[in-house]
């Protein structure tokens, strides 16, 4: 009996002292720079800075632009995994904010919009980081416009991902026929949920409380 109790106690102690799984967050922010949406980049900067204030030590963040060909590391503007020491993490955040600021200054409009490529890149990046929470923020009008020769009709695995579309602006054509806008959002929702992810849209950038 005593032996059993000892074993039980030891097992409990080992369970209590065992290192727990990751509790960090990974954020991948895609910024659409195609056509007229490039003018919204300043708003995207606000979102990025807000995300930086919310992130904690050991969290990961990457900001990438959506242009003609988004499935490439070259599109990543800035990325960082914060140190677990708060002071170092603060320094990293300040440096990250500087990089984003530079990008906003020099951002040029792209002729096409490859959202799927950006999402693939985001999934790949966050899967490599092995974070507990995985959030993909898409700052775009969600209108995909692929250049000739780009194949993006591929299934996406969003298992364990939260995909949040931010500031999904209405196009001129949407004003003529709002069904296009709604159909566009529904299509993306279906795609994300089919891939096992969770889809959300936030258009009011003054109410970002639920974000991260």
């Amino acid at each position: 009996m005593k032996c059993r109790l000892l074993l039980l106690g030891a097992a409990l102690a080992m369970q209590a002292c065992a290192p727990s799984g990751p509790k960090n967050t990974g954020v991948y922010l895609l910024v659409d720079t195609s056509g007229s949406y490039n003018r919204q980049v300043n708003k995207a900067e606000q979102i990025i800075l807000y995300a930086l204030t919310r992130l904690q030590p050991a969290d990961s963040i990457a900001v990438a632009r959506i242009d003609t060909a988004s499935f490439t590391e070259k599109n990543i503007i800035a990325k960082a995994t914060f140190d677990d020491r708060p002071s170092t993490a603060n320094k990293q955040k300040r440096a990250f904010a500087g990089l984003v600021d530079k990008f906003v200054e020099v951002s040029a409009p792209a002729p096409y919009t490859d959202i799927t490529g950006g999402l693939l890149q985001a999934i790949e990046f966050l899967n490599e980081k092995h974070t507990a929470r995985r959030e993909i923020l898409i700052f775009s009008d969600m209108k995909e416009d692929l250049a000739k020769g780009y194949v993006r009709d591929i299934p996406l695995d969003f298992t364990g991902f939260d995909v949040i579309a931010l500031n999904v602006t209405k196009l001129r054509s949407d004003n003529f026929d709002p069904r296009q806008y709604l159909a566009r959002l529904d299509e993306w929702r279906a795609r994300v949920e089919k891939g096992g992810g969770h889809w959300r849209v936030i258009n009011d950038l003054d109410r970002l409380d639920g974000l991260l």
Partner: protein, 482 residues
């Protein structure tokens, strides 16, 4: 079998129901005695079981009460022994202090007395009297020498006046010397007075202490005799100590929480802010460990100082070892207090850094403004970080009281619970017995008609028997009368 099919053995369900009811009542009437016995047995078993349980709980309550009484008396005895020991130590100190200075005091008193005696003896000496010229004057006055006698008398007069003047001078001188001697006695008198005053004070102090010891000894004897009054006093004291020490411990816990808040954030810089052990952050655990170590050091320091006696091993150490332990624990405490002060400073620095970063990210210029009075909060945090570990040292005193009084309070609570449990069991036992009687009456309720018939039949039988007996007894009488 459904109710409809049950009532279908005649074409009229009401009739069927009536017949069934009659059968049921007859069956119940026939089984009445057995049913009553079963109910009575069941109720009796339950009542006896509950009463037995109640007795058992009462026994447990008595045993716990006796144990609690023993614990209380032992604790009270120990406390009184300590108090009496301390009083004796105080008396010993007083006596030792006075006795240590007694030879010196005695010497000074003797010297003062000798000086006073000498001075007194000197003061008693009377100056020499002027020479007696009276006889010579008488002889010369009786001589018939003419004017020559007058001259002689005149010379004698002069000599007498001179001698008188000298005698007066001597007298004044002697008086002055005596006064000087008496004046010189004054400091000695004062010395004697003061010394005796001190002795009186010491004696009074010893008497007071001895009265206190007498009082404590009376209480101690009452405890040793195990008087109820002593137990009652000890019990109420124990409850008071329990609540007071619990209150102080709650305050100390709040202090420890403040301490934790001061050092938890900067600890993240040392051990990382994202490591977890189980569900807890490693930084939080590290901060908690520091506080616990400080409290432990405080306990050891108090034990080494013999203020508390939670660890008899420390109390039994030699004085040399205890002093060493005292120095070591104090040094560790000082070191940890300094570390905490440093961590508190670092906390403020980190906080400012974080605020500045947040302000920068928000694009808020006001957030990055430097507060001119920031040094006050920084200094206050550092001060608290340094002082709190030393303040937590004193937790050992209420902790010891809490631990000691907890035994008694737990015992008293146990006694109260057992007493209530015993009462409930007894009430339930009696209730079961009465419920059994009630169940018998309820069983008899549908049998009212057959029971009434039975009663009537019994009465009739009794009446018949009575009539027969009366007629049998009166028949011979009537025959005799006729």
């Amino acid at each position: 079998m459904s109710m409809t099919s049950l009532l279908a053995f005649t074409p009229w369900p009401a009739v069927s129901a009536g017949i069934l009811l009659i059968f049921l009542i007859v069956a119940m009437y026939l089984a009445r005695n057995t049913a009553h016995q079963a109910i009575q047995a069941a109720a009796g078993v339950l009542a006896r079981g509950l009463r037995l349980a109640s007795h058992s709980v009462t026994h447990a309550h008595q045993r716990l009460g006796a144990r609690n009484r023993e614990v209380l008396l032992a604790a009270g005895r120990e406390a009184k022994e300590r108090i009496v020991e301390r009083e004796f130590a105080r008396v010993g100190d007083t006596v030792r202090k006075d006795l240590a200075s007694y030879p010196d005091m005695h010497r000074r008193l003797s010297e003062a007395i000798v000086r006073i005696e000498e001075d007194q003896e000197k003061a008693v000496e009377v100056p020499p009297q002027a020479p007696g010229w009276g006889q010579a004057v008488k002889v010369i006055a009786n001589l018939d020498v003419g004017n020559a006698g007058t001259a002689i008398l005149s010379d004698i007069h002069k000599s007498m006046v001179k001698a008188h003047a000298r005698a007066m001078d001597d007298y004044r001188k002697a008086s002055s010397e005596r006064h000087a001697l008496l004046r010189r006695m004054m400091p000695d008198w004062r010395l004697i007075h003061e010394t005796l005053g001190r002795v009186d004070k010491s004696v009074e102090s010893v008497i007071e202490r001895s009265l206190a010891i007498d009082h404590r000894m009376e209480e101690y004897e009452a405890i040793v005799r195990g008087e109820d009054r002593a137990v009652s006093v000890l019990s109420s004291s124990s409850i008071v100590y329990f609540f007071v020490s619990a209150l102080v411990l709650a305050v100390a816990t709040a202090g420890a929480a403040v301490n934790f808040t001061l050092i938890a954030r900067p600890m993240a810089e040392m051990v990382g802010g994202t490591n977890f052990v189980g569900a807890f952050r490693t930084a939080d655990i590290a901060a908690l460990v520091i506080i616990m170590v400080e409290i432990s050091m405080g306990l050891f320091l108090m034990e080494s100082l013999r203020i508390t006696s939670l660890f008899p091993v420390i109390g039994a150490l030699s004085d040399k070892m205890r002093v060493r332990m005292m120095i070591i624990t104090f040094a560790i405490l000082l070191l940890m207090a300094s570390v905490e002060a440093g961590l508190a400073y670092m906390r403020e620095v980190l906080l400012q850094d974080e605020l500045a970063t947040s302000a920068l990210l928000r694009g808020d210029g006001a957030g990055s403004m430097v507060n001119g009075y920031l040094w006050i909060t920084t200094a206050a945090q550092m001060g608290m970080g340094f002082i709190l570990p030393f303040a937590l040292v004193f937790v050992a005193i209420p902790l010891e009281t809490f631990v000691h009084s907890l035994r008694t309070v737990v015992g008293l609570t146990g006694i109260a619970i057992l007493r209530v449990l015993a009462l409930i069991l007894r009430v339930l036992g009696n209730g079961c017995r009465h419920l059994g009687a009630l169940a018998q009456r309820v069983y008899d309720l549908p049998l009212c008609v057959p029971l009434w018939i039975e009663t009537r039949a019994a009465a009739a039988t009794k009446q018949g028997t009575w009539n027969t007996r009366v007629s049998r007894e009166t028949k011979p009488l009537q025959e005799a009368q006729s």
